[in-house]
Structure formats: C-alpha cells, structure tokens
C-alpha cells in the first residue's frame, strides 16, 4: 500500500511530464485501435464477401476436384453423407452444387458461361442469391428455368421469358444440351462474375450434365464463424479421404489469404514504428526520472529500504503511466469504434467503384472484438516491461554512497 501511495504521488511530482508520457501512450493506443479496427474490419468484410458470394466457409468435393475442376470429378450425394453432416451441430446450412462450364447462346450471340446447379433456397441462405435479383422471379427447387447474370444477359441480349440454350460436355463425355426459359436476372458486383453466371435448379443441372444425384461441391455456412476450421476438421475426420476432400476458403483461395497477410504485415510494421516512438518516449522519461531522483533513491537505500522495494515503486510508477494511457486510449476509442461498427463509413467515388469491381460492399467497416483491444494493451505492457529493465538494472547496481554524492 505504501509503495502504491508513493508511486502514485511521485507521478504527480512532475505533472507535465507524466501527462505528456501518458498522452503518448494514449495516442499510440487510440491510433493503433482505429487503425487495427478498420484494417481487421476490411479483412472481415473481404472474407464475408468471399464466403457469402460463393465459397462458404468450407466445402466438400470429390478428392482431386479443386485441382482439376471437371464434371467427371463429382461425388454422389448419398444419404450417408447427409447423415454425417447432420451429426455436426455447428453446421447451420449447406448448399449442394453441381457446377460446370458450357456455351450459352441466344439468337446469334454465344458465350462461355458457368452453370451452377443449386437448391435455390439453400443457395439463398448461403450466398443471398435471391437478394441479387434485379428482374423476374427466383427459382423453385425443381425449376426448369434459369437465372442469368445481368452483364451476361446484356451480352446475349436475352430477357425474361426468352429461351437460353446451353451446350457443353456432360458426365463421362456425354454431350450436354438443354433449353431453359429465363426466369430472372441477377446482378453480381464483380463484373467477372456478372459476365458469366447461369443458375439452374439442381435437378435441371444434373439432367443437363447427365450426372444424376452427383455434386461437384457442398458449400457450408456456420453461425459461429470463428470455429469454421475446427468444424471443417471435424467433418474431414468423418469422411473417407479417398473419396472426399474438405477445404476451407483459405485453402481454396490462397491468393486472398496472401493478400490479407501482406496488407496485415504492412499495417503491423506501421504499428511497430508507432510503438517504437512511444517506447523511446517512455524510455527517455524513465531515464530523466532516474537521473533526477538518484539521490533520493540513494537516501532510501541508506535509511533501510531494500532495493527490490525501491524497484517496485519505480515499476509501479511506470505501470501507472502506461495504465493511464492505455485506459484513456481504450475509453476514447470504444464509442468511436462502436459507432463506426454500427454505421460503417460508406465509400464514394473511385474507391467505391474499385470495391464494387472487386465484388465487395463499398463500405469501410470496423472490426468489433476484444482481441485487438487486448493485443494493443499487451503491446504497451511489453514495451513497459522492456523499459522497466532500465530502473531494475540501475537500482540493482546503485550504491547509496554514490547516489548520495550526486
């Protein structure tokens, strides 16, 4: 108690210095939190967009499908696999798909398209396909019509009620051909997707490619999205690896992971520079404080205070300085971040266009989770621990006679 009292009062011996040092910690924490919140928020948005645009958090394929995406690499959608999936409570929804490529044609226009055989209701749960409708009606489960992406419909000059012709190669080399009335038009933010997507009901797609009861993938969604790797691993253990591969979105899209990692690394380097500046600031303060009070330290040792108790006083002072800055920084950042969490900043102009072109919502969201608050606080603690070595070493070596002579 005595130590805390002395440490606290020592802080206010030089109010200006204490406030400047605590302020440097405050600004470091505040800026670091803002930076990390927006950075992690943008990654989360990127992941959510990718996961909910197409991949789900993880997928099941026939072994080898992801490396060689051909219609022959399919697997049978058996009751056994459904049972295995249903045994895992964390899985909230999944979308069976049969996907392949074909030529889409209307009138004199022809283009290579991606044909997605889906269960419309399940696909909507995973990717929100229904919300992407801009015209017409959504598919029913055994629909014999098609949904076509907007840019593709413009290219083929095809509208609602017109008949789309699909020609391609089916399962084991069987020729695939079919005609499908256009039920609706969907819009994808990504121009690449918008220029090539066709959706059929799963039975219609299986009939087109002569792949009855076959799937190319099962895409999974979870409520508890943080644990998708564990759930994917669980499912992997349940399925025969000879027949099935279970891949997370990160395994399926390593380029996205790499992009996030490199951006994250550059953010962390910025933070490291920020914290280094703050660290040197605290170090300077500690050095100054030590020089100013060395005689006092000598006196305290002379009258009978053990060095470890003196170290505790100085360490407690540094802890208070850090704590003041950290608490103030977090308290200041919380309302701001929470506001932006609820009301993401909308992007405008070229930035918005670039986001839309990448298939992302044109917003700057913030991440709202305790982990990065803890990480920043821990970083300051580590800096303080390093800085604390200075008084620890100096006081350990201090002799009262040398200190009193200063």
């Amino acid at each position: 108690m005595e130590i805390i009292k002395i440490a606290w009062r020592n802080l206010w011996r030089n109010k200006r210095r204490t406030l400047i040092t605590s302020s440097s910690v405050f600004f470091a924490i505040f800026l670091a939190l803002l930076m990390r919140a927006f950075q992690l928020g943008s990654y989360d948005l990127m992941v959510v967009n990718i996961v909910h645009a197409y991949s789900g958090y993880f997928q099941v394929h026939a072994t080898g499908y992801w490396d060689d995406k051909i219609i022959n690499n399919t697997f049978e959608y058996t009751p056994e696999i459904i049972t295995r999936i249903n045994e895992i409570p964390e899985i909230t929804s999944y979308a069976p798909r049969l996907e392949s490529f074909a030529l889409g044609s209307y009138g004199t226009q022809t283009k290579g398209v991606m044909v997605n055989g889906v269960i419309p209701a399940e696909e909507d749960k995973l990717t929100g396909l229904h919300k992407k409708m801009v015209e017409g009606e959504y598919l029913t489960s055994d629909d014999d019509g098609a949904l076509i992406s907007q840019k593709l419909s413009q290219y083929l000059k095809i509208g609602i009620g017109d008949t789309l012709v699909l020609i391609g190669q089916g399962y084991h080399g069987v020729s695939a051909a079919g005609v499908y009335p256009v039920r609706g038009i969907v819009h994808f933010p990504s121009p690449e997707l918008d220029g090539r997507m066709i959706f059929l009901s799963l039975p219609a797609s299986q009939a087109l490619f002569s792949a009855e009861n076959m799937l190319t993938s099962l895409a999974f969604n979870l409520d508890d999205t943080k644990n998708y790797k564990r759930v994917a691993q669980h499912l992997k253990q349940e399925l025969d690896p000879e027949l099935y591969e279970v891949m997370t979105w990160e395994e399926m899209m390593p380029d996205v992971v790499q992009q996030i990692q490199s951006d994250n690394a550059s953010g962390l380097i910025m933070l490291a520079i920020l914290y280094m500046i703050v660290g040197f600031g605290i170090f300077g303060t500690t050095l100054m404080m030590f020089s100013e009070r060395i005689r006092e330290f000598g006196m305290m040792i002379a009258i009978g205070m053990q060095k470890f108790k003196l170290i505790r006083i100085v360490v407690t002072e540094l802890f208070f300085i850090g704590l003041l800055g950290v608490v103030a920084g977090i308290v200041a950042a919380i309302p701001l971040l929470y506001y932006f969490f609820l009301n993401p900043i909308p992007l405008t102009g070229e930035l918005a266009e670039a986001s839309i072109n990448m298939g992302f919502e044109p917003i700057m969201p913030v991440a709202w989770e305790p982990s990065y608050f803890i990480a920043q606080a821990m970083t300051v603690c580590i800096i303080l621990l390093v800085v604390m070595l200075l008084p620890v070493v100096k006081i350990s070596r201090l002799t009262p006679i040398n200190a009193l002579r200063r």
């Binding site: 005595e2 002395i6 006092e296 002379a302 009258i303 009978g304 205070m305 053990q306």
Partner: protein, 230 residues
C-alpha cells in the same frame, strides 16, 4: 560496553592518478549514550568516516563492529536491514521523501520494519511532538522550513529505535535559530533517553554542545577529547 568499535580503518580512493587516503588508519570506539562530534576541515575525511560507520561506504581495510557485528562481512541485503534496525541517519540536506508528509516520512521507517499501524501511529505522533512538530504532521517537506525539515529527519532517524544516530553536518544548511533549536532537541534526547549521537561537523555551535570531540585531519584522528559538561 562499546556499541561501535573501529579498528585500523582505511578508505583509499583510486579514482584519480594519485591514491587518496580519505581515512587512514582510524581506531575509535563509541559507547552507548555518547554525544560526539567528529570535526575537521573540509576534505579531512570526517564525512567518509561517518559513511563508513554507517555502512554506506565500504572500507578498503580495517573493520567496524557494531554491537559485535562486523558490518564489512554483511551482504548488501543484510547490510540494508542492519542499517534499518540499528542506525539512524540525519543528512546535511535533510533528504526527506518529498511526496510524503512529515508524519508519513517518520512512519515510513517503521513500516519498512514491519510494525503494525497502531504502533506506528502512536510512535510517529510522539516523535514529531518531541521535535516540536506536533502541529505539522500533515505538511509535506516543501511546506516546511529547513529547520523543520531537519527536525523531521531527526524524528525519522529515531523512529526505528536505532542504536545510534549519525548526523552528517546536520546544521550546515540551517540558520542560527534553527541550529540552536535542533541542537537543543538532540541534546535533550541524548540526555533524557540516552540516545547516542555522532556528528560530523565544522559548526562550532555543534562542537560546543558535544561531550566528546574527535579531531580528524588527513584521514587520521589527531585528537579525541572528552568534554566535561558545564
């Protein structure tokens, strides 16, 4: 019985090109209840001698025994504890803890010794009253005059119930009234409570009060005189 026994004490500084013998073969002893002044010109070695007796400095040769304990053989940690429980210090520039009040400065020593709060409180108040500061308990050092600060330092030195008090030029920074006041208090404590005081000083007023005057020059004791009380 002697509470301090010093045998062939030497302190040699080799910091410069020429070795300086700050204390050069001193043999001294002090009994309980002495009121002794170590006097000498600046640089004579009196402060060094006091620092060695207090275990603040390490002798180059010789030994210091306090109550039979050779303090040169104590580890740094044990020596700090030894000082806490056996020696009181009064410094020239008061050296109070600036963030603590007069009361807390005195109490601090006893809290280091591990006394309970009630005991600390009663003794702190009693000591501060005995040095005439019963009404300045809650004043911080920067609100006290030099004389008052030095009286707090005396109370603090007494707080641990030491075997003796070492006072290094305690009146050097005080005006004559404060000096007289402080000396009266220390003399009273010495006479009434048999507390041993050893001063280093070149203040004649202190010398006049002392009952033993040890003259030091060039690191050696050149005279050691007992003065009869008037």
């Amino acid at each position: 019985m002697n509470i301090i026994e010093i045998k062939d004490l030497k302190k040699i500084y080799n910091d410069s090109e020429v070795a300086v013998h700050a204390v050069n073969g001193v043999d001294l002893s002090f009994k309980q209840g002495e009121f002794a002044a170590i006097v000498g010109p600046s640089g004579s070695g009196k402060t060094t001698l006091l620092n060695l007796i207090g275990g603040l400095d390490v002798p180059s040769e010789g030994s210091i025994r306090i109550d039979g304990v050779n303090i040169g053989e104590l580890s740094s940690r044990k020596l700090i504890n030894f000082r806490l429980n056996n020696i009181g210090f009064v410094f020239q520039s008061y050296n109070l803890i600036p963030v603590l009040t007069a009361y807390e400065n005195v109490e601090f020593i006893m809290s280091l010794q591990g006394y309970d709060k009630d005991k600390r409180h009663s003794r702190t108040v009693e000591l501060l009253k005995s040095v005439g500061l019963g009404d300045r308990l809650n004043s911080r050092p920067n609100k006290l005059s030099g004389g008052e600060q030095q009286r707090v330092a005396v109370a603090r030195a007494l707080a641990s119930k030491p075997k003796f008090i070492l006072a290094d030029e305690p009146t050097a920074n005080l005006d004559s009234k404060s000096t007289s006041n402080l000396l009266d208090i220390m003399e009273k404590l010495n006479r009434e409570e048999n507390i041993t005081f050893i001063f280093s000083t070149h203040d004649q007023r202190v010398v006049n009060k002392a009952r033993r005057v040890i003259q030091v020059e060039d690191g050696k004791v050149i005279s050691d005189e007992a003065i009869q009380s008037p």
